[in-house]
Amino acid sequence: MGISIGVGTIIVGLLISAVLAYVLTKINKTTGAWVTVLAPFLALAAVFLLRDSIGTTYSLFFLEFELTEYGWFFSMIMLLVFACVSFFNVYWMKKMVHPAAYNMLYLLALTGTLGAFMAKDFIGLFIFWEMIVWSSMFIIPFGKSRKASVVYYAFSALGSLAMLYGIFYLYNAFGSFNIQEVLKLAATDTTAALVAFITIGIAGMVKLGVFPFHLWLPRAHGNAPDTFSPILSGGLVKAGGFAVFLIAVVMPSYEAFATQLQFMGVSITSYIFILFGAVSIVVGTLMAIKQDDFKKLIAYSSVANAGYIIIGLAMTDALSVGGAFMHIFAHALASAAAFLAVAAVSHRTGTTKMSELGGLIHRMPLTYLVYLIAIISMAGIPPMAGFISKWMLFQSMIDNGMVFVATAAFFGSIGSFLYVFRPLSAVFLGQLSPKHYKVKKAPVLMMIPMIILSGLTVLFGIFPNIVLRIVSRIQTSVGMEGLQFDGTKIIGSNGSLDPTLIVVIFGIGFMIALVIFLLHPKSRKVELMDTYTASEFIYTPELLHYSHSFYAPFERLYKNAPDTSKWYKAILKKVSEIGGFVSYAFFSSKPRIVVFWIVIAMVALLWGGSV
């Protein structure tokens, strides 16, 4: 045929497959779900093949696309997540009320993300950006909550409309919608740059779920259908990183704000963004520790991780941006894997409440391993990909001497041990509840994507340079200094890291431990209930399982902390009250009241007009 694959072809293909998925699901649910599996994989292959043609522009009808280094990177992450998660759709078809719509919207969301990452102009970016919003907005209410969708839309709208303001402001100032061109021009004009930074930055912050726009994450992620939560957390949220990257690095902010007051090595504007990131790390961590719902916990952890990403991007030095990119990548893989593990658990047990679960390692060992790897990466422990990114971020934080931000980051990093351990302990370890005795292993098809994601997490934890070289190319393509490598070593500013060596040494340590273990007498296998109870006889596993309000002593310390959602609720309540007042005062059924207002208004107008 001779059709060369281009971005346009991929987008059209995805749109067609979305329609196809809708039609096929109407005919046969499973077939439709398979379309959602195949389409992202084909797109993944196609985008991967486009690696060589980076820099070319494509046009589709009226939209123009440009394949940039970073667009390619983001698209790959997104497609990877979508491709892996879609296996789960097959199992969820029976549980959905609108399966056909779900499949279609699922692929539309994918199209939206790809389009946004590859758009050449702001209008294209905005169109696809909103496409992500409304496609996912319709999926979320298929889950447990309708309100969640409204909250999600409210925040998304705030972000995207801020972005729209920025886009038109820039268009008015520079007369173009072309992203690269406009941003380069904006860098020369501090006011325009500031407007762009704030407006598009807010869009990014909302998508990432950075404080104070983080409230939609736990609600949307926690209540979305189990198969869609990984997409939200692993995929769509990362689009926010893209937006922040545009204004922080592509613009680039360090040139635009060079005349501003410089504080801790960055401009004051960037520093404020960084502070928001720091706050969201703390808030995300504290809230995640509190949650009882498995999914909400991971959602809040996404808030905390969003903080790292925004800090890294806003610091705009080679190491921090590299770290942010690595973090985007690592967190996408890890949180998708974690959410998939939740989905598998939920599929088998029907609940995501941690206090109702326990001891599932004895029934779902592989799912446990997947979750373990995911949380090790999320907590930033070697040898997983998450460690690399955190290390890089810490390096540049220390380099800039950002004491308070680093305090938050350290707190978040150590705090993440707390919240990632809780599901591990409460869901997988501990006592198995009798009602879950008959729980089976996760189905094979579910295992495939989980193993792929975990495998990649480990692989890029051991050989992060595979990713970091791409990141380095991205950095040079936007005119930054690239990351430095030496073999398997990553050169930091005040030290270097050799993840491969760490793994080797860890392997040696593990082998020694294994040898010690094997040399000594074999242990006797005992029942799970045969455990130290001060010689008391206990027969109910639930009573011997510590999972309810796990960190109670710690939670007590901040139970009176201000609740951000209350602020928003207060605002909306005020809006409602004003509305009620307007409705009561102006829209009366008594003619004399309205006449009174007319008279007042006319007098005011006459007075105002004659001034």
Partner: protein, 318 residues
């Protein structure tokens, strides 16, 4: 390739030394504490006896994660030790990053926590909860102080940080340059070691030794090895970061003598720190876990931030 193998051999040597030294020192400390309490105290090699006894016993297992976690814990801690510089010998030069110790250490801790909770005992769960909560308390101020140090000295390599302190004798120690930081570091060290008053997660009388509640036999033995190694890591971190590492106590021309005396110097400082912490531990009672957190977020963290601000903004202590 050869260099890596040599490095690994050196690292293994450090591992063996660390184990032998710390286990002996623990025994000696037990003896000292015994005398302190007007007792005779055990033999100095009592800890070896305990460890090997435990290893030789036939324990129980609660499933694969129970044993796997232990192996992961010991493996992780061993790997951490192998990265440690000792007496100025750096097995893997250039990558002895401070953060590696913090996070590689966490592998071990995670393994142990996993294994402990995997036993299905709620007391283990509570113990792990307390350990993690306490970790949030002590790690953050400690890391802030170290941040200040790395910012000031421009390197995060442990050996280089130690070497910088060896340039002009006692006065270049961070103990002198960052006194507030050292105090914070020492308090955090007590927390790390789980010494009283920060003994919340073991609390034998309250939660039956917390995470260790189900261990017996070889798993317990391995965890004891891990404990000794972890202590070694923590104390050498402290010595290297604040007390100048392997500083010689004899000065002169003879390099061998100076070198040997620096070994002695390191071990001396090490012993003093460990014994002092043990004595403090035996003189104090135990905090409740929320008191621990409150304490760490009231005193050390504020001091740590003050220290960091002094370093970052005033440039003192560089």
């Amino acid at each position: 390739m050869i260099t890596i193998i040599i490095s690994i051999l050196i690292a293994l040597g450090i591992l063996v030394f660390a184990f032998l030294w710390q286990t002996t020192l623990s025994g000696i400390t037990r003896k000292i504490v015994g005398r302190y309490q007007k007792r005779y105290g055990p033999r100095f090699y009592q800890n070896f006896r305990d460890i090997f006894k435990a290893l030789s016993k036939r324990g129980i297992t609660h499933g694969w994660v129970y044993s796997f976690g232990v192996i992961m814990a010991v493996g992780g801690i061993m790997a951490t030790v192998m990265f440690l510089p000792l007496f100025g010998i750096v097995p893997f030069p250039g990558v002895d990053n401070f953060f590696i110790y913090v996070y590689l250490f966490a592998v071990g801790m995670l393994g142990m926590a996993m294994s402990a909770v995997g036993s299905g005992n709620p007391l283990a769960g509570i113990g792990v909860m307390r350990a993690l909560t306490q970790m949030v308390g002590y790690e953050v101020p400690f890391m802030i102080v170290v941040l200040a140090m790395i910012y000031g000295h421009g390197t995060s390599s442990l050996s280089e940080l130690a070497a910088i302190q060896q340039t002009s004798g006692f006065l270049s120690w961070n103990l002198v340059k960052m006194p507030i930081g050292t105090i914070v570091g020492f308090i955090c060290l007590l927390g790390m070691l789980g010494k009283k008053p920060f003994e919340t997660f073991i609390a034998p009388a309250e939660i039956a030794s917390g995470p260790m509640v189900e261990y017996g036999g070889k798993q317990l033995g391995m965890l004891m090895i891990m404990h000794e190694l972890a202590t070694f890591i923590e104390i050498s971190l402290f010595v290297n970061l604040f007390l100048g590492g392997a500083t010689p106590i004899v000065f002169g021309e003879t390099t061998v003598l100076v070198g040997l005396s620096s070994v002695v110097g390191f071990l001396l400082k090490y012993s003093i720190v460990y014994i002092v912490s043990a004595l403090i531990s035996n003189a104090l009672g135990r905090f409740k876990i929320d008191q621990v957190i409150k304490y760490f977020y009231k005193v050390p963290i504020v001091l740590a931030i003050i220290q960091a601000l002094i370093v970052v903004f005033l440039g003192w202590g560089v």
